[in-house]
């Protein structure tokens, strides 16, 4: 189930040594959908609908679960959107998250890189751009996406009407 493992060992003289660990991406299937639901419940305040989870099973490489030492600790889910008067499509990152104890270990970057790589490779249809929304005050997330080449293109007022912080930024990365 878990694809080839990678070992990480960032030892330097003055920093404590990190013990080795394994990371791998896995498919989302009807059988482990329960794990994705559990992750999303813990990670995001939004309740996702049945159609959201149905779509997840249809987007292939654009929805993935990430394993840390064989334990499922994070996931990314995207959907493709038709662009008017174009054969290309846009890719929208609906969710990307990692359980709190497993952050700052490069797992989010690994998932995002996987999405970008596959968007660049995709030909049928080709992907025009990847975009997403981030709550206005979520600086950590903003920094994370900027680091990976995303740019703020728009401020969407009252995008999250149900939350205290209602405004969001729209971030984009042009692919082709």
């Amino acid at each position: 189930m878990t694809p080839p493992a990678i070992m990480s060992n960032n030892s330097t003289e003055d920093k404590p040594k990190n013990a080795a660990f394994r990371v791998g991406l896995g498919d989302i299937t009807p059988n482990n959908l329960g794990q994705l639901k559990r992750l999303n419940t813990v990670l995001f305040p939004v309740v996702y609908t049945a159609s959201f989870y149905k779509n997840v099973l249809d987007v292939g490489e654009f929805a993935k679960i990430i394993y840390f030492n064989d334990v499922c600790v994070g996931a990314v889910c995207c959907r493709t959107e038709v662009v008017e008067k174009s054969s290309a499509q846009n890719l929208y990152i609906a969710t990307l998250g990692v359980l709190a104890p497993y952050r700052r270990l490069g797992l989010g970057s690994k998932m995002l890189k996987h999405i970008v790589d596959h968007a660049e490779l995709s030909t049928t249809p080709s992907i025009a751009k990847i975009y997403l929304h981030v709550q206005e005050d979520n600086e950590e997330a903003l920094e994370f996406y900027k680091k990976h080449g995303f740019e703020v293109t728009e401020k969407c007022e009252n995008y999250y009407p149900q939350f205290d912080v209602k405004d969001a930024f729209k971030l984009e990365k042009i692919i082709s």
Binding site: P16, K17, A19, N31, N32, Q35, L99
Partner: protein, 829 residues
């Protein structure tokens, strides 16, 4: 009239061939053709019957075979055919009689003799088998099978030495022994060796290994046997070398390492400090030599003690927690029989948790940052550790922290369920297991576990829905697939759940299904008697025969038998069905009213159920399924002699599991109800021999004494003498009240709740209408009973109070709720 004209005689030969080639339809037609001209030809009639049997026409089969026999009583074919017919119906006794009749007529018929020997070994008639095998060998001395068949017959009747003589004689007749190892020859030689070992002549067996080695394929067997024999012969140094070689082939084989230890003279159960150091050293060397061997890392924990244990355990735990090995606790809990080791492990694990929380390492040195999963597995380990100690709240604290840390891990929810189960909250336990199941729908293990927890919560319908998710979907009745697949765990859990709910018929149905599986296992060996001789898989065949002889001592059969005996005893005690708890404390008039009301409701429900079933059956038949005529198991509850049925389950246990005290405790329950006083006494004496201190035993002894007293003159003087003699041996003339009092005193000294319960039951029987029994049960509230006050024993105590019609049930319930705050059974409604 047996001789047929040429044409028909040829035809008759053809239909015999048809039978051998399993062309039953063609053979049937041929037989009819002969019978047209010679309607009274006995052998043809018999064969026609045999064909009918294979074409699913059972009644006609017997009719024709018997008719054939009547017309030709002197034909061996007719008798042989009759035997085959009985055999196919598993009536081996009659089949054996027919074969033996056939052999009287045709003394040298190889085919009949072979069939005869097959059933003789199947029915374990070894005396007869040796005879038949001798004759076969005399008729066909050039055939290896018959030599070996005779040797096996001798071995099974307990004469391996005669078996060896037969094999030696056969080996001497061999002119050209295959130069290259030949599997069949090799197996025969190894079988020969096993006979020498069974004779106890280890030196001869050892020498024999040298002689046969160059002809043997299974070199591993040779090496293992050699090491084992060297050890038995006391040739330590050579044994050591032999075991070291074996370890180099498989450094994870516990038996090899055990052998090495013994060859070094360190096999004793208790080791001196010096010996312990040597053993630990031995394992250190092995670890160095075989760094990937888990056995070399795990086994020293068994032998080390004190500081040495602490340091080995520390290293072992760290590496396993870092790696994330879910089975770590299960692997270590056997060490907990040593309380100091348990304490050391607890201290280590708590230390890791504190350090991981603070500095992300297993210690505070700050040199290594462990992966986040290390914290997760440490929490998981601690939860299991405290669950094992039945400190449910502490365990729940750890498992909840673990779930908060990583909510996606299936094992965590399973363990949470287990903790809740142990705390007595079966519904929440089931919910936790269902959460675990939903995380991984393709895992059959978690699906089955979840089913089991549903049954523990007596949610049978939900359990059925869950378990069939992994049954075959393409058959009409997927639930029956579990019976066909011999899924005994499910049948046992379901049966026990029905029993708890008072659904005796349904419960018995399940227990009988398990019993039937065991009958099938016994039947299955029939195919192997011939096959194994032909294929020469002799060592495996002998171990199969020995296994079959012990089959019903298996835990699954014991559980089924215990369940079934309880059911049949309850049918005997309450022929109108089990009284529901609502009926407790009602007067007879109220009971009558309640019953009639209930019966009306039942009738209505029954009608609805029948309509529903008729519809379901129709659909099932359409899909080609078989309709269950008795889903409620009514035929079992209507058994004419329930105690006789119970005995059928008990007898195999008396024979195969006499070392289990439960066997005799169950035996007592049956015999005392049958007024078989001597057999009841025999059960008691056997139980005393196993464990005189057993709690239930006291209650049974008192019941026995009272029953004997009540029987009075109905008891024969001879029986009375025997009983009195044993009673005097046991109690030296004390009267019952004194017996009860001294037992109670001892129970209090021991601080044991099960003994207290037994004392209370006995007291309520010796002195009824007395609140002493009640008072005894309430003693368990004292703190000195804390360690033996399990959830199960509290439940039994409450049930006992109820059956005594005590007015203090709710008072007890409130107390039990304090001891087991999560247990739903004690919560007030």
């Amino acid at each position: 009239m047996r001789e047929l004209p040429q044409k028909e005689a040829n035809l008759f030969k053809q239909i015999l061939k048809c039978y051998e080639n399993k062309q039953y339809k063609k053979g049937f037609k041929g037989a009819e053709q002969i019978l047209k001209k010679f309607p009274e030809h006995g052998e043809t009639l018999a064969l026609k019957g045999l064909f009918c049997n294979h074409l699913d026409k059972k009644e006609e089969a017997y009719e024709f075979v018997k008719k054939g026999l009547r017309h030709d009583l002197k034909s061996h074919i007719c008798w042989h055919v009759f035997g085959l017919l009985y055999r196919s119906d598993k009536n081996y006794e009659e089949a054996l009689k027919c074969y033996s009749q056939a052999l009287k007529i045709d003394k040298e018929n190889i085919q009949i003799m072979r069939d005869f020997s097959l059933l003789q070994i199947h029915t374990r008639n070894y005396e007869g088998l040796v005879d038949t095998r001798h004759q076969l060998l005399e008729l066909r001395p050039q055939n290896r099978q018959y030599w070996i068949g005779l040797a096996i017959a001798y071995q099974m009747m307990g004469k391996p030495d005669s078996g060896v003589k037969v094999l030696t004689a056969y080996e001497e007749t061999l002119k050209d022994i295959p130069t290259k190892p030949d599997y069949e020859h090799s197996e025969m030689l190894l079988y020969h060796n096993s006979l020498l070992e069974e004779m106890g002549d280890i030196q001869a067996a050892y020498d024999h290994l040298d002689a046969i080695e160059k002809h043997v394929c299974d070199l591993k067997a040779i090496r293992e046997k050699r090491a084992q024999f060297l050890l038995a012969l006391g040739r330590q140094q050579e044994a050591e070398a032999a075991y070291r070689t074996l370890i180099s082939h498989n450094p994870d084989n516990f038996a090899y390492i055990d052998g090495l230890q013994k060859s070094l003279g360190l096999g004793n159960k208790s080791l001196t400090a010096e010996e312990e150091a040597i053993v630990v050293g031995m394992f250190q060397e092995l670890q160095k030599e075989y760094p990937r061997s888990n056995a070399a890392k795990r086994l020293p924990l068994r032998y080390a003690s004190g500081d040495s244990f602490a340091s080995i355990a520390d290293e072992y735990l760290r590496s396993m927690l870092r790696k994330g090995v879910p089975s770590l606790f299960v692997n270590l809990k056997t060490l907990y029989s040593d309380k100091t080791k348990e304490a050391v492990i607890e201290k280590l694990a708590l230390g890791y948790l504190a350090a991981l929380d603070k500095s992300k390492g297993f210690d505070h040195s700050g040199s290594i940052v462990e992966p986040p999963t290390a914290l997760l597995w440490t929490l998981y380990f601690l939860a299991q550790h405290y669950d094992y100690k039945r400190e449910s709240d502490t365990a729940l604290g750890y498992i909840n922290r673990a779930i908060e840390h990583t909510p996606t891990l299936v094992e965590l929810h399973m363990t949470k369920g287990r903790i809740l189960k142990h705390a007595g909250d079966f519904n929440s336990a089931m919910e936790s297991l269902n959460e675990a199941r939903e995380l991984d729908l393709q895992d059959r293990f978690i699906n089955s576990k979840c089913t089991k927890y549903m049954l523990r919560a007596d949610k049978v319908a939900e359990a059925e829905k869950t378990v069939i998710l992994f049954a075959r979907a393409d058959i009409a009745d997927p639930l029956h697939d579990l019976v066909d697949m011999q899924a005994q765990w499910y049948l046992l859990e379901a049966g026990e759940s029905h029993l708890r709910q008072g659904q005796i018929g349904k419960a018995l149905k399940r227990f009988h299904q398990v019993e039937k599986h065991f009958a099938e296992f016994t039947e299955d060996q029939l195919d192997f008697h011939m096959y194994c001789l032909r294929k020469m898989t002799l060592r495996a065949y002998i171990s199969l025969l020995k296994l079959e002889d012990q089959l019903r001592s298996h835990q699954s059969f014991v559980r089924a038998a215990q369940g079934a005996v309880k059911c049949y005893v309850s049918i005997f005690d309450q022929p109108d069905g089990v009284e529901p708890p609502e009926m407790e404390g009602m007067t007879e008039a109220e009971k009558k009213k309640f019953r009639s009301k209930q019966r009306k409701a039942e009738l209505k429900a029954q009608k609805e159920a029948e309509e529903k079933k008729a519809q379901a059956d129709q659909e099932l038949t359409k899909k080609g399924g078989k309709v269950d005529e008795d889903p409620e198991g009514v035929k079992y509850t209507k058994a004419e002699d329930p105690l006789g049925e119970a005995l059928k389950f008990l007898r195999p246990l008396q024979e195969l599991a006499p070392e289990r005290i439960e066997t005799h405790l169950m035996g007592f329950e049956i015999y005392i109800r049958k007024n078989k006083f001597l057999l009841a006494l025999k059960s008691l004496l056997k139980a005393i021999k196993i464990d005189a201190e057993n709690a239930t035993l006291h209650e049974q002894l008192v019941r026995f004494a009272l029953a004997v007293k009540k029987a009075g003159s109905a008891l024969s003087p001879a029986a009375k003498t025997v009983i009195d003699k044993h009673w005097n041996d046991l109690y030296k003339g004390q009267d019952l009240a004194a017996v009860g009092n001294s037992f109670l005193k001892k129970s209090e000294e021991q601080g044991s709740v099960p003994h207290l319960i037994s004392a209370a039951i006995a007291s309520s029987l010796i002195e009824p209408k007395n609140d002493k029994a009640e008072a005894i049960l309430f003693l368990m509230a004292d703190d000195k009973y804390k360690s033996t006050r399990s959830l199960e024993s509290a439940l039994v105590a409450q049930k006992t109070l109820r059956s005594m019609r005590s007015g203090r049930v709710s008072e007890f319930r409130a107390k039990a709720a304090e001891w087991f705050p999560k247990a739903t059974v004690f919560q007030s409604v």
